[in-house]
Symmetry: C3
Subunit: 514 residues, 3 copies
Amino acid sequence: MENLTLLIEKENERLLAPIRENMDQFFLSIMGMCILFMQCGFAFLEAGAVRSKNATNILIKNVMDVFIAGVCYWLFGYAFAFGDGNQFIGYKHFSSSLLDDSQYAFVFFQYTFAATAATIVSGAVAERCEFIAYFIYSIFITGFIYPVVTHWAWHSEGWLTQGETYLFEGENNTMVATTIAYQDFAGSGVVHVVGGVSALVGAVLLGPRIGRFHKETSTVGTIRGHSVPIAALGGFILFFGFLAFNGGSQGSISGEGDGAAVSIAVYNTIISGSFAAFTILFLNKIQIFGNSSWSLLLTINGALAGMVAVCAGCNVFYPWCACIVGVIAAISYSFWGWLVRKLRIDDPIEAVAVHFGGGTWGVIAVAFFDKNDGIVFTWDKQSAYSLAWQCCGVGAIIAWTGALSVLMFSVMKAFNILRVSEDIELKGLDIPKHQEPAYPIEAYGHGHIERILQILSEGPKHIKQGMVNMVYESEIKDNGPYESPEVKAASEQRNGSVNNLVAYGKQHEADTRL
Amino acid sequence: MENLTLLIEKENERLLAPIRENMDQFFLSIMGMCILFMQCGFAFLEAGAVRSKNATNILIKNVMDVFIAGVCYWLFGYAFAFGDGNQFIGYKHFSSSLLDDSQYAFVFFQYTFAATAATIVSGAVAERCEFIAYFIYSIFITGFIYPVVTHWAWHSEGWLTQGETYLFEGENNTMVATTIAYQDFAGSGVVHVVGGVSALVGAVLLGPRIGRFHKETSTVGTIRGHSVPIAALGGFILFFGFLAFNGGSQGSISGEGDGAAVSIAVYNTIISGSFAAFTILFLNKIQIFGNSSWSLLLTINGALAGMVAVCAGCNVFYPWCACIVGVIAAISYSFWGWLVRKLRIDDPIEAVAVHFGGGTWGVIAVAFFDKNDGIVFTWDKQSAYSLAWQCCGVGAIIAWTGALSVLMFSVMKAFNILRVSEDIELKGLDIPKHQEPAYPIEAYGHGHIERILQILSEGPKHIKQGMVNMVYESEIKDNGPYESPEVKAASEQRNGSVNNLVAYGKQHEADTRL
Amino acid sequence: MENLTLLIEKENERLLAPIRENMDQFFLSIMGMCILFMQCGFAFLEAGAVRSKNATNILIKNVMDVFIAGVCYWLFGYAFAFGDGNQFIGYKHFSSSLLDDSQYAFVFFQYTFAATAATIVSGAVAERCEFIAYFIYSIFITGFIYPVVTHWAWHSEGWLTQGETYLFEGENNTMVATTIAYQDFAGSGVVHVVGGVSALVGAVLLGPRIGRFHKETSTVGTIRGHSVPIAALGGFILFFGFLAFNGGSQGSISGEGDGAAVSIAVYNTIISGSFAAFTILFLNKIQIFGNSSWSLLLTINGALAGMVAVCAGCNVFYPWCACIVGVIAAISYSFWGWLVRKLRIDDPIEAVAVHFGGGTWGVIAVAFFDKNDGIVFTWDKQSAYSLAWQCCGVGAIIAWTGALSVLMFSVMKAFNILRVSEDIELKGLDIPKHQEPAYPIEAYGHGHIERILQILSEGPKHIKQGMVNMVYESEIKDNGPYESPEVKAASEQRNGSVNNLVAYGKQHEADTRL
């Protein structure tokens, strides 16, 4: 009977194995797809935050991130990250050689993470970075800097994965050998600190945009992005993507407890993001780090910081811990944002504050809130060592990424290919570099320019409510014309306008005569 | 042998149990993610439908819906909805206490529904609702009003779920005891009627926007939204999300027939939405409820109404029934839209017509078209009782939501925190409340403003085809300049313009001299 | 023992069957949803590429594609495609009659493909096609042209699926009977060549837009689309959707090796798209088919062409083959784009180059790079026959689609319902046809028009940095005003402007006096 049960179990496992494999690959594929869609989120968050004259430039960078990572991660990134090798780096499976068919789902999934790490930088160096410099750093990050860090922390060989075995006091005064290692479930450190540090270095070495900081008045100028809706679209897509980013990090769905781990990770992401959003909304409203308004863009960034911070431990947090992580993440984001401005570093979309600020806190939070051995649950030598390993891990990541980024950006600066000329920066990059203005004026028909020209050419008596009569004919018939506040104001101003202009002209003539 | 088969089956089930659980959690997580993305859809549908001066305001409301629901549904909403309690309300699992890890997928999934219910309201109260009032109603709906309704209709304890057992005549004159209960698969009533009723009450108590209805002429003014593409984006995302909303409502994918139920629900959603879209498109074109144009925005709303209506029975409809449900949903939407306007209620995005109009019809449609015992298939006492229960259910939902909404919005009105001041309404909410204009004029570079100033400053002889010579240089070289109709018109008007202006100035001088 | 194992296996299979079925339906549903979301991608890619005066028109076409296909594919499309019938066409399951519940997932999945085929056309005929003509061709393509092709190539009965059995020389001089058939995994030919050919015919028969080609100068005019960000959004969504399009084409996830096939298909899509994007970016930069700029829109189109081309064989390519396929797809796209322009055919979004250019190459590429018997691996009679079948298949598709499209568009042209009047084309279709301008000027508040009127009405001394003082008050308090390059330029030009205008006016007067 025993034997029989065993036989059945064995048979079963044999039959279930392909089903399990399929489930896992399905899971990794669909989650990877959603994570890749985050590129669209980053693109629009950033595009909304730059001026219209640089919108095409930031969009092409985000589009190319997908494809640069596609090429580089395939050619060598994956080999460095997940190929067998040593504790520091892998060197197998270059250009996916010797890979079994069943491994491509994993390769694809990891590729989407690599693309994310690189894309963080583009926001911080926006509106002034040379396109060729962007190419170089993007290749370097997706192909080398980031893969090495993943090898450390996510490959079984990596020194951060292996950690160290220590003897701790167990029950009855016995000594128990326990391995303590760096924990980073979805990459608060591995992805976001890498991206954040590189973004910081890039922003520092590029220097601020023209007009961002005033030398004489020593004030910080606000350079507004050109479209809040575009930025909000990016934010929404990132919220969606982050659920896949954190949930998908479980890496499989067929093992016992996988489903629960995925759903807890997803749920904690929402909880942390929600509390972070609230925190930043009210911090700003009550004028701590803020200007007393209900800011949408800050709220989005705050929520993202909360989601970044919860990455590292979203599988081992209770929801109430995720809530604390979120609140502190928002504060950390505000603090780093303030510090970056204080240090006269120009980071147009606050990538450093979100990803570095959120990420570092997230790595450390694991040591405190891990439900198994977090410091708030059991404060002992073991949890202290865990904290040390988390700090060590994030320190190593910062040092590695920082050093290589400094090298990379400095060399480019030395060769003078890092920053566009002042002339191009003032003009904006879209036309000189891409010949594609984001909103070509001549493509706007019945709308802004024609209407204005019409207003200029016709007397005030021709001003119509709504718009040109002909085109809205049926509407007028249906509903009666509506004189909106805008139209009314426009109409009144316009009447005044010509008078003023003529008066001004006469005055001007009079002035020049003197 | 019998025994052996049984043993194998038992063993098998034991081994399959974790696989099933994982599949279900995977299913709920990914479907929930897609449903949450509907928030982005609502945000953009609404943002496109308001004027630019209120775009940031409507976007932050939709962003915060995600996070308000995140907090409230976690703290108490889920407990009221799916905690054990009585027939009316649950009271267990506050802040997800005592929840097993395996239940988080379900909590997350239900949370995404709660967020949807609240977000419906924001469209109806757009462009005039105080931000703080929004906070209060959003907390109240996601945390209490909606959860209680779900407890009634979707928790096994709820009075609408339990229904009532009646004796019906069976075959051979025997009496058969059958339980009749309220049926609402994906929430035509539970989600959309709740949202729609609350939206209606909010819109009534807020009153119309300035300029929407003319007292003297008693006409309805059209206040156009600022961007059709933004609204269309929202529509597309909602179409996508609705498939998950209805398909996901099966709640599991591992049981026999689950997959079929999911795919029928998905397919019926498309069928109903398609026929509703066609109906509204042609109703409008042939001027029943319409203005004889092919309207995109109406088509989107009509399709959504069809998808809302099919929610309640998408798992038990034949496709041809879904098609009838869609057609009637579109008519219902048109009727409610007309009625709301007639009653001088200002609902900027027709949330009431879509969600209330579609939802109520959807609940009732189940009684008619359920393939098991719908009235069109078997008209007998049992199906009549089913209809009565559907009406009773939707009536109870309307009464509950209506009463609490009236209370909630009235109290806010009494405290004068419901509506912004006239001054702010005219200015738009974005700058006074959020200090974030959606499209900050100074962020637009080579484009509108500069070009116009250039036209003003240079004589007509300097007008160039396309744009400034320098920037399009290579294009001109490549393709030859193209004098587009717009540019030509602009150029001609401009030539006239200065003449006119000068002439007008002279005339004006002459006039004032008299 | 043998028997026992067999029994266990049989029992197992019985128990696993519903699980497998559920997995497959789940897979088809979620993939289908993502594919349907591609409609949003096409909508925005196209909307960004037209002028603002036609944006609503192109959006409603893409919205209606979803619903036209919903109706037509349900009523008869599916029956023609996957109903039993003969080698040429199916005729069963009209309006999903006699369909088992378990088949709806497949119907839904195939429907999303049909919608894609139709939507390709709308881009090529943009800005001049009558709405009613659009209706007719869309019904015809989704309901007949495309379904018949799928019957040929994807239904087990179809003549392209069945292929032909040949005798080839095997080992030891024996003859082996092998069946060679047309291979098209995800539809490079079935979907994209159908769409591309129909788009080509439509564009030819409609004729170019006014202003696109100059008769006298014989130059090609560039008619820019109105919004790069909108086009980029479409591109991103299509990249996302293509992964589902190609991965989902496996059609099931429960069989052994399904997961691997899906993930290889997904990964090859990224690889091919990436290399295609790089190729086109550099081809354009070094001025082969290009203008020496880093073009975003070309890069997006190139990547899409790469993804289109890899459809046919993404399950049987090694990644390095996908990389070659991508490079050649980009060249093919450039060539077709050049040829189409050369032939004075006006295809506003280059749908022909992307889908026809990418698709035909993709079909042929299978014969070369199939890892099982591709020409580059084993050049023999069998691989030559495969090539012949691929060419034959794509030829038949071109002939069928071309002939029917010519018929369809010619008849519409004869009845004069194909193209809008010149008057409406110049005005743009949005207002005359839809009464919904994409960006109604009166909906833009504190923004463009008011600001310009203010500049006109006030003297230069009143020019403020940033914007109106009142509204940005707190900002000024916080950060100090920032005189951006734009504002500075505007301010300087404005000062000059009035002087110039006055001067011009005086000069003008003087001129006219002479």
